[in-house]
Amino acid sequence: MDEKPLYEGSFTVAGGNFDNAGEVASNIKTILKQIGLPKDVIRKVALVTYESEINIVSYARKGMIRLRVVPDCIMIEAIDEGQGIPDIEQAMQPGFSTANQKIREMGFGAGMGLCNIKSFSDVFHISSEIGKGTHLKMIIKANSTVLNS
């Protein structure tokens, strides 16, 4: 974990505005492609960052996504300032959602986001404080060798 990262950076996400939702995930995907990571790894990171971004947009005032890429894994953190999650176990259940009608009409808020993040990550950790916000930590292993670093 002490090795020099291939990339390290953070991206801010504004809460409540769906207009540019997905932009952070798209930027991160471009960065990983430039590093030359394998496609299946990029696919997982894209999903995890997209769902994290949508969660911040849907439920938080604001937040950020941190990305750290080292040769053998990608670490992603999604940290938001928001209402927090009262019952994490319940929030992790497939299909459970507190999304309002507007969010659901757009095809979000189906209670799949956190489950998807967990299943596409090799390591997943979630913590939340009521009235403060939620913190997700994910690690995705990059099993194949990095091509052109």
Binding site: F18, D19, S26, A46, M106, F108, N116
Partner: protein, 114 residues
């Protein structure tokens, strides 16, 4: 089978990405829940949906779909179309309902790969 063949066979209206119609379609995915599409669709899929808002462009582009077909004559929202043109994502419109369109495309694709 490329997008152009599907457009011709099913009389689709092309709204954006006219220069990408030679893109090969590898498969398809039908769905309106964006998390479902993100998790289960694949690169090169043609995505069939009735969502018309701009977030579909981000999803299709992240997943590298061959294109999006809106069902039941649904027109893309103005900002959706602007994003699709800018991002080079083909959006097409079919008058058919989702079930029928999916069946037709499935038949076309499987016939081709037999």
């Amino acid at each position: 089978m490329d997008l152009e063949s599907i457009v011709k066979a099913l009389d689709l209206k092309v709204k954006s990405g006219e220069d990408k119609l030679k893109t090969e379609i590898r498969g398809g995915f039908t769905g309106d829940l964006l998390s479902d599409v993100m998790a289960n669709s694949k690169e090169g899929d043609i995505w069939i949906t009735r969502q018309v808002h701009q977030n579909i462009v981000a999803v299709a582009s992240l997943k590298e779909h061959a294109g999006i077909i809106l069902v039941h004559g649904s027109e893309p929202a103005k900002d959706t179309l602007e994003k699709a043109i800018k991002g080079g994502v083909p959006i097409m419109v079919s008058d058919l309902p989702g079930f029928e369109l999916t069946g037709r495309i499935y038949a076309l694709i499987s016939k081709k790969t037999d």
